[in-house]
Symmetry: C2
């Protein structure tokens, strides 16, 4: 005997979620079967509601429930600086630091020729339009430090510098609290190149 048909189908759907293996999916499925109808309804409604209500800010592509996100609407933010990231979740990571007071631009991906994603497939045109139409002083490129992120950073730099705007890249190097012996050599070389006088 295996699980019943509906249960197998549910488990098959759950294992598609990120970080959920077969055993976790089984545990979650059994948990749902043992939960009250109301609790299960609450979960499925929350999924459907989030999916329906959440859209991308029409200026910066941050997740929002209105037309324009709260960061773009906030008059206290410095609208002369834009931090460019790949994904909406990268914005959350920066906001948690509470160190950045400017605006964001989410590219919705990175340039990746191997995956067939060129500059026209991500929100680069929209970024250039923002730079041309507003009084922007600095663009901070905060794409990932992998090959695609670096490619995107180099491409953006070439495109934006001629517009007379300062372009910077976030500092790359050894993460705080690291044990040096576990750091890969590319990062270590980079940390030497980017050394600062104390």
């Amino acid at each position: 005997m295996a699980y019943t048909k509906s249960l197998e189908e549910l488990i098959a759907k759950l294992v598609k979620l990120p970080g959920i293996g077969r055993r976790s999916a089984e545990r979650i499925a059994m948990f749902l079967l043992q939960s009250s109808d109301a609790d299960v309804k609450n979960l499925t409604s929350a999924i459907i509601r989030a999916k329906q209500n959440i859209r991308l800010c029409k200026i910066c592509n941050i997740l929002t429930e209105g037309e324009v996100c709260q960061i773009c609407q906030n008059p206290a933010r410095d609208n002369s600086t834009i931090c460019v990231v790949e994904e909406p979740k990268d914005v959350i990571a920066f906001e948690k630091t509470a160190k950045f007071q400017g605006l964001y631009h989410v590219l919705m991906g990175s340039i990746s020729p191997l995956d067939g994603r060129g500059p026209e497939d991500i929100k680069i045109k929209e970024l250039i339009d923002r730079i041309k139409n507003k009084n922007i002083k600095e663009i901070i490129i905060a794409t990932d430090s992998d090959t695609e992120g670096e490619t995107t950073a180099i491409y953006l730099n070439k495109l934006i510098k001629p517009l007379g705007v300062k372009v910077t890249r976030i500092g790359l190097g050894v993460p705080v609290g690291s044990n040096l012996e576990y750091i890969d050599s590319t990062t270590l070389s980079l940390s030497l190149e980017s050394r600062r006088e104390l």
Copy 2:
């Protein structure tokens, strides 16, 4: 800025699932937002369908989609032996071994005075009725080896033995493949008591 309201609500629901912490919930929520409408609908429908279709077998309380489960219906199974377990998922664990050809009885819990669960709160009466009405030769008690499971096993033994039925308890001891130094002393003492001649 935090997440939007619907997203926070979704994350709050997801962290209630077993084994899902805050970060996993965030990842799953972002994944769902980036999935197609059809994929999300498939997931929520699978949850709702499983919840609606799956019920407990009216004989043994195994999860089933009909009135009576496939094990109780199977004429090839030995209906003179019943393996008594606490939860429906315990049945799955035994079935995976493919070593047991009898029937099951799921108690839907264990006796736990500390949690206010007495013998009348779990399916003991139904088990006794089965034993009285059918020609049962052996009851294998496979409740957990924790305090509640042991209490339940002792209680069941006292209740069933007077009915003239053989009552056995699954072997408790050192799990196969264990390194002895990591086994707790209660298990080790038990493994000495339950030693067999080779």
